[in-house]
């Protein structure tokens, strides 16, 4: 097939990717969007397979067979709570695949005669650098998310090593581009980049993981784009830059939602946790009102509007289904129930929404922060379940607080707040939460799932 026909097919594939992402702008069209994206990929693959440059199919069958098998098994078996791990692995594989394709171009440059040498070798170096960082960074992120690696290096020597390896990788990339006859420079820059990938993710704390996953997502796209420059292939450039842009936006959203700069996240800077501000005793002493299920059930007797504010603690307790049962019961009594979802409620962007959707909570009840915050004054009962820092009013009104400026869910503006929590222990930020001591707050000390079940039972008894 003539190259121009193949390029035309690549153009169609690129347009389908854009239409597919467009579909994701609404839950109504999202499924079709995903299918349109998959169709785009199919078009690109078929167009490539009819290329006369392809002369043997043994390795192709093997590669696709192994990859498809692994992909299908992973996609079917993965638990929704483990989506961050799955995305971390896929980020890494994407980066690695792009870097490897760049390596094949460097090994057999005669296959792409129409790409100018400076572009070919410069982009190969970039692709290999970004791809290797993405691969090893994602593997470390995966191990940390899965709880198999607990390594948080800190201090000057570590930062020197990390920053130094980044500089060496960059220097080697420039050197190799200037002198591409020295292939060993290419392998060296790949190896040093891989080391930097490990070091830069190693220092990132558990709470900051959503940021890093989003960043690695962006890098996996940029690696694909760089490989597009190597091969002078527009579909790679376009698809890669779409993913790069997407990951970049998600990174910015996550940083803003956690009140952290990207630099703080990457350097493992935890901020002045607990250094300033009142102690837990100052905040809580004599002001905590504890309540049991029967007392709280009574609140629903006169309520017309209830908001449920889940944090990842709810998912850890596997309480999603119990929560949905309670919500269904309340709705059957004419009470309107909505969910308020903070951007960092789960372990990755949008995670909490997936976990609730899995428990059959309709998506039109899942309200984001900007939508639900103005509604709180009209909400009779707000139930906080496994969330802490994201509902801490100190972020709004306590200038010295380490979380000051972080956008929060204003649950304290609701008429009554019920906080389900095992104890008064602090969240990731390590600071007390004045919400717990407010006049309109009732503390329900219990395990999340047990508490919601007892509450459901008590409401039935009313």
């Amino acid at each position: 097939m003539a190259q121009s026909w193949i390029n035309l097919a690549y153009l169609i594939a690129s347009a389908l990717f854009i239409l597919g992402l467009q579909g994701l702008t609404s839950p109504r069209t999202a499924r079709n969007g995903n299918l349109i994206g998959a169709l785009g990929m199919l078009v690109a693959i078929v167009a490539t397979l009819v290329d006369r440059k392809i002369i043997s199919f043994e390795l192709i069958a093997l590669g696709i067979g192994v990859g498809a098998l692994l992909g299908v098994v992973a996609a079917i078996r993965v638990q929704m709570t483990a989506m961050p791990e799955m995305v971390a692995i896929l980020n890494g594989f994407g980066g690695a695949a792009s870097a490897l394709v760049a390596a094949t171009a460097v090994l057999a440059p005669e296959m792409i005669p129409d790409v100018p040498p400076l572009q070919l070798y410069g982009s190969s170096a970039a692709s290999s650098l970004i791809g290797a960082v993405t691969l090893t960074g994602s593997l470390v992120a995966f191990l940390k998310l899965a709880g198999w690696l607990n390594w948080n290096p800190r201090g000057g020597a570590y930062q020197m090593l990390s920053g130094g390896s980044a500089l060496v990788a960059l220097a080697l990339s420039v050197w190799y581009t200037a002198d591409p006859s020295r292939l060993e420079l290419f392998w060296a820059l790949t190896a040093v980049s891989a080391i930097y990938g490990v070091l830069f993710t190693a220092s990132v704390g558990g709470a900051d993981m959503p940021v890093v996953i989003a960043l690695l997502n962006s890098l996996s796209g940029l690696a694909a784009s760089a490989t597009g420059f190597v091969l002078n292939n527009n579909v790679l450039i376009i698809a890669g830059s779409l993913v790069g842009a997407s990951g970049f936006i998600l990174t910015a959203i996550m940083c803003k939602a956690m009140n952290r700069s990207l630099w703080d996240v990457l350097s493992g800077d935890l901020g002045e946790a607990g250094a300033a501000g009142p102690s837990a005793d100052d905040v809580y002493a004599g002001r905590i009102k504890s309540a049991g299920p029967d007392e709280i059930a009574m609140l629903f007797d006169v309520a017309t509007k209830v908001a449920i504010v889940p944090g990842y603690g709810m998912a850890v307790a596997q309480a999603q289904h119990a929560v949905r049962d309670l919500a269904n019961l309340l709705e059957s009594r004419g009470i309107e129930v909505v969910y308020g979802i903070h951007p960092v409620a789960g372990r990755m962007p949008g995670h909490m929404n997936v976990l609730l959707a899995e428990a059959d909570v309709p998506y039109d009840k899942l309200l984001d922060m900007d939508t639900i915050n103005p509604m709180f004054p009209e909400i009779d009962v707000a139930i906080v379940l496994g969330a802490n820092d994201v509902v801490n009013p100190s972020a709004r009104d306590q200038k010295g607080s380490p979380i000051y400026g972080m956008p929060i869910l204003n649950v304290d503006k609701a008429r009554t707040v019920v906080v389900v929590k095992r104890s008064l222990s602090p969240g990731f930020a390590g600071i007390p939460n004045p919400l717990f001591a407010n006049d309109n707050t009732l503390m329900y000390f219990a395990d999340g799932k047990e508490a919601v079940r007892a509450l459901t039972h008590a409401v039935k008894e009313l």
Binding site: I54, I60, V72, T104, I237
Partner: protein
Amino acid sequence: MDAFIAALTVFTLAVFVGFAIIEKIPPTLHTPLMSGSNAISGISIVGALVAAGGEESGLAKILGAVALALATVNVVGGFLVTHRMLAMFKRKK
């Protein structure tokens, strides 16, 4: 240089398109967006196919086959898991 500028033009415009669309995607769908973009970043499968099935020999061909397997995991796993997730998103009955 012309080819490079042309490629850079495509890249820059695609980044703008990406920003414009992604900003409109609601937070509810951010996880499917990430897994779906994982699948799209498997686009290097196109380069891997040529490397694994072309006239390259030796190391280039082997690296091409490995790249192909990894990119296929992304494409197949990414689209499938996204589909599985999106199937859970339902409206109020």
